[in-house]
């Protein structure tokens, strides 16, 4: 984990130096503005979002006992997309603490979608994770359909929304950092406190119950915390795939399944991965910026297959 932290710091410093505008010490006013107002919040935001996605991945993989669970299984990203779409299309001139309507409405949409999925999934005493997964699929499809419908009637705005949905940090400013920081801090602390219970849950719901865990209550808490994490992440950066699913797996390969180490290490790994991805996205075709979400999926897909091959060989 020390390695990860160091790696993160190094990557951050490197990322700060990358970009179309050359930074030379001593900094002139333009360079300082670029560094402090554009690059630093962007680097910080990328790390925060990466960490949030990775931790959510860990939480969901533990909750659903399914290694394929990613942060968006409960419909959060489609809710955010719908919120963002409504904000952009209605030309709402909402300004709260430096934030435009889009991230605010995206956050609201994300929370709404997850609350809906959670409410649907709560049947009887135990909030059956399987039911929630299915509800997530249904709600995702429904919200996506609504979004597509809206865009169909306002096709001139389509490019803007689709670009946002692909995920990116071009709009990252201090306002966004300030908006999600409190949510992320609280959620990270909560997540870390779930570590032992998540370990127990890996043995099965019945066994966890026999060892003294109030399973239904705990599942509710995890869904709540994870939803905050994802909603915060998606509202400022669109839907960035793969980090949330792959980072926990990578970390698990080295550290093992114990959540007491898995959660903080995944946060660091996710932050590092997304930072690297974002730095690549904005420098590879400089000065044009690629959407980060596209990059993570492009690299993430084949990389994940490689991981699979490697771990299968290790098992034999």
């Amino acid at each position: 984990m020390v390695g990860l932290s160091l790696g993160l710091v190094v990557a951050a410093v490197v990322a700060l130096c990358l970009g179309p505008v050359q930074l030379k010490v001593p900094l002139d006013p333009l360079q300082r503005k670029v560094l402090l107002d554009l690059r630093l919040p962007r680097v910080i935001l990328a790390v925060m979002v990466g960490a949030a996605l990775a931790v959510t991945g860990v939480l969901f993989q533990g909750l659903f006992r399914n290694p394929l669970a990613d942060p968006y299984v409960l419909g959060t990203s489609s809710g955010a997309a719908l919120g963002a779409t409504i904000a952009v299309l209605s030309n709402a001139s909402l300004h709260l603490g430096g934030l435009s309507a889009r991230p605010l409405c995206a956050f609201a949409g994300a929370i709404l979608a997850t609350a809906l999925v959670y409410g649907l999934g709560r049947m009887g005493n135990r909030s059956a994770p399987t039911i929630m997964l299915l509800a997530g699929i249904a709600v995702s499809a429904f919200f996506s359909a609504l979004t597509s419908l809206l865009l169909y009637f306002r096709q001139e705005e389509m490019a803007k929304i689709v670009f946002w949905m692909m995920g990116g940090f071009s709009y990252a400013r201090w306002a966004e950092v300030k908006m999600i920081l409190p949510y992320l801090l609280v959620a990270f602390l909560l997540s870390r406190s779930f570590a032992r219970q998540l370990n127990l849950l890996l043995l099965g719901e019945d066994k966890a119950h026999q060892l003294g865990l109030e399973v239904a209550v705990f599942q509710r808490r995890v869904v709540f915390t994870a939803s905050i994490l994802v909603a915060a992440a998606v509202s400022v950066s669109g839907s960035i795939g793969f980090i949330g699913m792959v980072a926990p797996h990578l970390v698990r390969l080295f550290i093992g399944p114990d959540h007491r180490y898995l959660i903080p290490a995944s946060a660091l790994a996710g932050g590092l991965l997304l930072l690297v991805a974002d730095s690549l996205a904005r420098t590879v075709l400089s000065p044009v910026e690629l959407p980060v979400g596209v990059l993570t999926s492009l690299i993430g897909g084949p990389f994940f297959l490689y991981l699979l091959k490697k771990s299968r060989r290790a098992l034999h």
Binding site: L202, K207, Q210, G212, L213, E214, D258
Partner: protein, 273 residues
């Protein structure tokens, strides 16, 4: 302190239905403190369901369970985990925890939120592993263990909860002959030396007859007979409940009743059994 004459568990009019389907109907029995109680019966008679009702995994549709003088419904899950350990029949070991980590999870109901395991907890875990002969496996990942080894790890985990009552669902199903005898001897020793009470579901009637001092014979969700092995394991009971022909002889060495089974509609030929 537990007074030995008061039953540790008392079940009154217990019933359970899966929706419309009745599984258990009107069960009434008591488990004496310090006893080794065996639950026996054919497949589908409700043995596992009964165990689940006893550890609050399932909520009975009628009746009540009184454990250590309290209604089970009023006992919080974490408190219950300190008093009752459960060893299930099967267990999917998908994640590569070490044996030590799995056994130490048994201390969860005792851990405070902020502090971790204390020296006393590690000591309890170690003793639980030594008793089940899993201490040698402590650092092995559970995914690499055989079925029998995993079974013993689960028993160790339940013992780490330092319970007063241990519930086991067919604890010897994955064990070979010598391991079976070892585990049964271990259970007898736990009762003698640690004052534990044990309730175990048994597939093997003769094993139950040899080690248990109290038996519950279930048939189709009801108690057909209960009491000592001599009283329950009779030819009439076995034939009525299991639908086979039975012959009972005394075991050599132990003198306990041993049942031999034969098919009901025997062919005239001597080679048929």
């Amino acid at each position: 302190m537990l007074v030995p004459s008061i039953p540790i568990l008392s079940v009154e009019r217990l019933s359970f239905c899966y929706g419309e389907q009745p599984i258990l109907a009107d069960l009434n029995f008591q488990v004496p403190t310090g006893s080794f109680t065996g639950i026996i019966g054919p497949n589908g008679s409700g043995k596992t369901t009964l165990l689940k009702c006893l550890n609050k995994t399932l909520t009975p549709t009628d009746g009540r369970v009184v454990f250590c003088d309290q209604d089970l419904r009023g006992i919080r899950v974490k408190t219950l985990a300190r008093m009752m350990g459960v060893v299930p029949q099967q267990w999917a070991a998908d994640f590569a925890f070490t044996v030590r980590e799995v056994v130490m999870m048994g201390r969860f109901p005792y851990l405070h939120a902020l502090s971790g395991e204390q020296a006393a907890d590690w000591e309890i875990g170690r003793r639980a592993m030594e008793m089940t002969k899993t201490w040698e496996l402590a650092d092995r990942p559970i995914t690499q263990l055989s079925g029998g080894e995993r079974q013993r790890v689960l028993i160790a985990q339940a013992l780490a909860q330092t319970p007063r009552l241990l519930l086991l669902d067919e604890p010897t199903s994955h064990l070979d002959v010598s391991q079976t005898l070892e585990i049964c001897a271990l259970m007898a020793e736990l009762i003698r030396k640690q004052g534990l009470t044990i309730i175990a579901v048994f597939h093997d009637l003769n094993l139950a007859g040899r080690y248990c001092d109290n038996l519950l014979l279930l048939k189709a969700g009801r108690i057909y007979a209960q009491g000592s092995p001599e009283k329950v394991l009779t030819v009439e009971n076995v034939e009525a409940v299991f639908g086979v022909k039975a012959v009972v002889r005394d075991e050599p060495n132990t003198g306990k009743p041993h049942i031999f089974f034969f098919m009901k509609n025997r062919l005239k030929s001597k080679t048929a059994f």
